[in-house]
């Protein structure tokens, strides 16, 4: 197992695609030291910015292939496109964590900047702090969001989580910002706590479950009924009752939006339409 810890507090953006089990794999620590990494507009060696130690994996992260210890919120693109292995990060981490990840596992004991798990295809990202905007969302201009895999956030998430999602699952145990599941085509998004407006805007298909308070439902969703419980994944169902909305009408979508009945008395006016 390789242990990385930053040698200083970073001010400039650090681009570190090389922090990836598949790249470290079968490299001596000397070779790893030499791996290219960008600090601002200067190219450096990984070893110039990080203390690199090779030691036995033990305790809670014995499965880990890479562990990062310390504040790395400026360090971007960690685990980009990784296929297998496990990265455990103790500290806040920067943008594009696990972008286009295909397999393996990333665990973060801290907060994560934008675009975590962007365009993810497989694997698991576990975030024990908060995640910023565009969780699992695609790159600008691209309509292929998350295509598989699983993202679990124990804190809150920012705007547009799961935008353009096609498959996979996002679970948020805190609350979420605007436009959860924007233009999603499939997959499941679960939010345990509250949610800002415009949830499921322009969704074509898929499932969004809001277990907390939802400021308002878009006028382009229509009430379908009340459901007692809803399935999140194989092993897990959320206990309702939930209002079930269909939408988004503007896209002739048949996405399902479940909103907790108990937490949202202001939506009771919809009941008269049932």
């Amino acid at each position: 197992m390789i242990k990385l810890s930053p040698l200083k507090e970073f001010t400039y953006p650090i681009v570190a695609e090389c922090i990836n089990p598949n790249i470290f794999d079968s490299k001596t620590s000397k070779e790893i030291w030499k791996l290219k990494i960008w600090e601002g507009n200067k190219q450096k060696a990984l070893g110039e910015l990080f203390k690199i130690e090779e030691n036995k994996a033990e305790g809670q992260n014995e499965t880990a292939t890479i562990t990062v210890h310390g504040e790395v919120s400026k360090v971007r693109r960690i685990g980009t496109g990784m296929k297998d292995g496990e990265i455990v990060i103790f500290g806040n981490v920067g943008m594009h964590l696990g972008e286009e990840m295909k397999g393996g596992k990333i665990v973060v004991h801290g907060n994560v900047e934008g675009w975590a798990g962007s365009m993810m295809k497989g694997g698991l990202i576990e975030i024990h702090g908060n995640a910023s905007d565009y969780l699992g969302a695609p790159y600008w201009g691209c309509s292929e969001g998350m295509h598989g895999g699983k993202i679990i956030v124990y804190g809150n998430v920012g705007n547009e989580a799961g935008a353009y999602m096609h498959n996979g699952i996002i679970k948020v145990y805190g609350s979420a910002g605007q436009f959860v599941g924007l233009r999603m085509h499939g997959g499941t998004i679960f939010v345990q706590k509250d949610c800002e407006e415009r949830t499921g805007a322009c969704m074509k298909d898929g499932k969004i479950v809001i277990n907390g308070y939802l400021e308002s439902v878009l006028p382009t969703f229509s009430i379908e009924g009340i459901k007692e419980k809803v399935k999140i994944e194989e092993t897990e169902t959320a206990e309702g009752p939930f209002y079930l909305f269909f939408g988004d009408l503007t896209e002739n979508g048949n996405g399902k939006l479940y909103v907790s009945k108990a937490k949202n008395p202001h939506l009771s006016s919809y009941e008269k339409l049932l």
Binding site: P138, Y139, W140, G141, C142
Partner: protein, 563 residues
């Protein structure tokens, strides 16, 4: 500075050179009969192929439409980038490369002259500004004139000569090179969201038909003695059954031809060679078109070959682009230009397994192989509409090797394979013929005197490919051919070595060619004319023309008109 290319196998169709081993001498950017052996810098081209620099008659590389495409597609760029080097600027690809990258990538393939086929006159300055940022290659652009209100009005009244004078004025003041006609009449109709369906439909509000526009401008083209013919993108482009429209269009100017010189160029012909009633019953109309072309001398065409990749379609044909948007559901840009033309952009992925796309792929190659005279059909992808120009090497191998075609055929949609004419075609182009369809023929059709050949006096634009015609049989070793054409061993532009082994050595600035048309009595810019300007356009007359200071390296070509 003197340069001597020694012992290459030279293919120079315009001078009838068919692969003889010979030297090419260069002085001050021109080809000369001899230079001082000892002084001159030498390039050993032994066991290599030497050709004139490639010429592309139809490739959307600059201007408002192309740039709108760039802006529209960050997802097209972000994985295909080129870093800055001591000599080159950085940039991005893929289907709509940024300006610098466009120049470098053409040069790496040994291309040195490229024509941008669609310039909205009102936005001509934009095209020329981008030309200045496209390094190495020489460029020119065709102003879109087929739906210009002036043209429609004069042709309606049958006033060909006035029309010619204003066209002359327009070509010169936009610094253009040829008359481009796109879906004649259809673009004006698109102003209100409509289209025209046949050569004899009336253009709404203008009481003139596509046929009259094509014939009219064809006559204008001859009155003005322009080096190239009218450059026509037919009506009904991209809709099944349109091969009839294409044939009609060619027939419509049959009688205007004299001493079998071409009078019309049908561009990206693949897109208008569709047989069948709809996309399911789509079939190839290549045979019918080839038969007509083989028996008539007044037409030239280019392929508009389709490549199975993710690309960006962009034409001035607004209605067609809208149909494509509805068909694919992909994002759509539309940009209509007052009193002149329109434009549309839609990203599109051609899929092997799609029946229609596979048929389209087949049609392009069928045309190139069934039309006997290589001087009449040219290699293009209508970049980026059929696919990016970087796929030319692939196409060359398909033209040169039946084996390569069969390999590709195996992977396409089965139903399309069974309908394709390709298995029945044995023809394989020779290197000589490839030199025709990629440079000589295109230069001839464009009337470029100093391009596309290696005769004394020609511009020293030369491509040297690492391919030994005595050892490698292109029909079997097609992979080697592709490699060779992908990365020129040397590209020489204006006598300078700009590319070596696929690496750009020098960032030289190519020239912009434009026509300075002299008519005996030029279009007078009267107050009446200025009034009309105020009415038709939202820019002052004084601000309209492209002044020469917009062109970094200006190469005006003077033309004496007959009016």
């Amino acid at each position: 500075m003197e340069l001597l290319i020694k012992n290459g196998f030279v293919y120079d169709p315009l001078n009838g050179v068919k692969g003889e081993k010979m030297d090419i001498a260069i002085r001050d950017g021109k080809i000369v009969d001899k230079v001082n052996e000892r002084k001159a810098r030498k390039i050993d081209a032994c066991w290599m192929v030497v050709m004139a620099g490639g010429v592309d008659i139809h490739s959307h590389i600059a201007g408002s439409k192309v740039n709108a495409g760039r802006l529209l597609r960050p997802e097209d760029h972000f994985k295909d980038f080129e870093g800055k080097t001591p000599v080159t600027r950085s940039g991005v690809g893929h289907s709509i490369p940024s300006t610098f990258t466009t120049g470098y990538r053409y040069a790496r393939m040994g291309y040195t002259t490229v024509m941008d086929p669609a310039m909205p006159p009102l936005e001509a300055k934009h095209t020329h500004e981008e030309f200045n940022d496209i390094p190495i290659i020489d460029k020119a652009s065709y102003p879109l004139l087929g739906d210009w209100w002036f043209v429609l009005e004069y042709l309606k009244e049958g006033r060909i000569e006035e029309c010619a004078r204003y066209v002359a004025w327009m070509i010169t003041s936009t610094k253009g090179y040829a008359i481009k006609i796109v879906n004649p009449g259809g673009l004006e109709a698109w102003g209100f969201g409509h289209n025209v369906r046949s050569l004899d439909d009336q253009v709404p509000f203008f009481c003139v038909t596509p046929r009259e526009i094509i014939r009219g401008l064809c006559k204008v083209n001859r009155l003005l003695n322009l080096p190239h013919t009218i450059h026509v993108h037919t009506n009904n482009l991209g809709r099944p059954g349109n091969y009839l429209t294409a044939l009609e269009t060619m027939k419509s100017v049959e009688d205007l031809a004299t001493d079998d010189n071409p009078v019309i160029h049908i561009t990206h012909c693949q897109f208008c060679a569709f047989k069948g009633d709809d996309w399911r019953t789509l079939e190839s109309g290549a045979e019918e078109i080839a038969n007509y072309v083989n028996s008539h001398s007044h037409v030239t065409l280019d392929m508009g070959q389709v490549i199975f990749t993710d690309t960006t379609t962009m034409t001035a044909d607004g209605p067609f682009q809208y149909t494509l948007h509805e068909l694919s559901g992909n994002k759509w840009v539309n940009h209509d230009v007052e009193t002149e033309t329109s434009a549309g952009i839609v990203p599109f992925r051609y899929r092997r397994k799609s029946y229609a796309n596979a048929i389209q792929w087949s049609i392009g190659l069928e045309l190139a192989l069934l039309i006997e005279d290589p001087w009449r059909i040219f290699l293009t992808t209508d970049h980026p509409n059929g696919g990016p120009f970087t796929s030319y090497p692939k196409i060359i191998t398909w033209l040169m090797s039946k084996k390569a075609r069969e390999k590709a055929l195996k992977r396409i949609n089965a139903r399309a394979r069974s309908r394709s004419l390709l298995p029945s075609i044995d023809r394989e182009l020779s290197l000589y013929e490839v030199a025709v369809v990629t440079r000589a023929g295109q230069a001839k059709a464009l009337g470029l005197k100093n391009k596309g050949h290696l005769g004394v006096g020609a511009d020293a634009d030369i491509a040297i490919y690492n391919l030994n015609p005595e050892k490698t049989d292109p029909s079997r070793k097609f992979k080697a051919v592709r490699r060779a054409f992908k990365q020129a061993a040397y590209t020489i532009k204006g006598g300078k070595i700009v590319v070596k082994g696929g690496e750009v050595l020098e960032h030289v600035v190519g020239s912009t060619m434009w026509l300075d048309v002299h008519s005996s009595e030029p279009a007078r810019i009267t107050d009446e004319m200025k009034r009309r300007f105020k009415e038709y356009w939202t820019v002052e007359y004084e601000n309209y023309p492209v002044t020469e200071n917009y062109i970094e390296v200006s190469n005006p070509i003077t033309v004496k008109a007959r009016v």
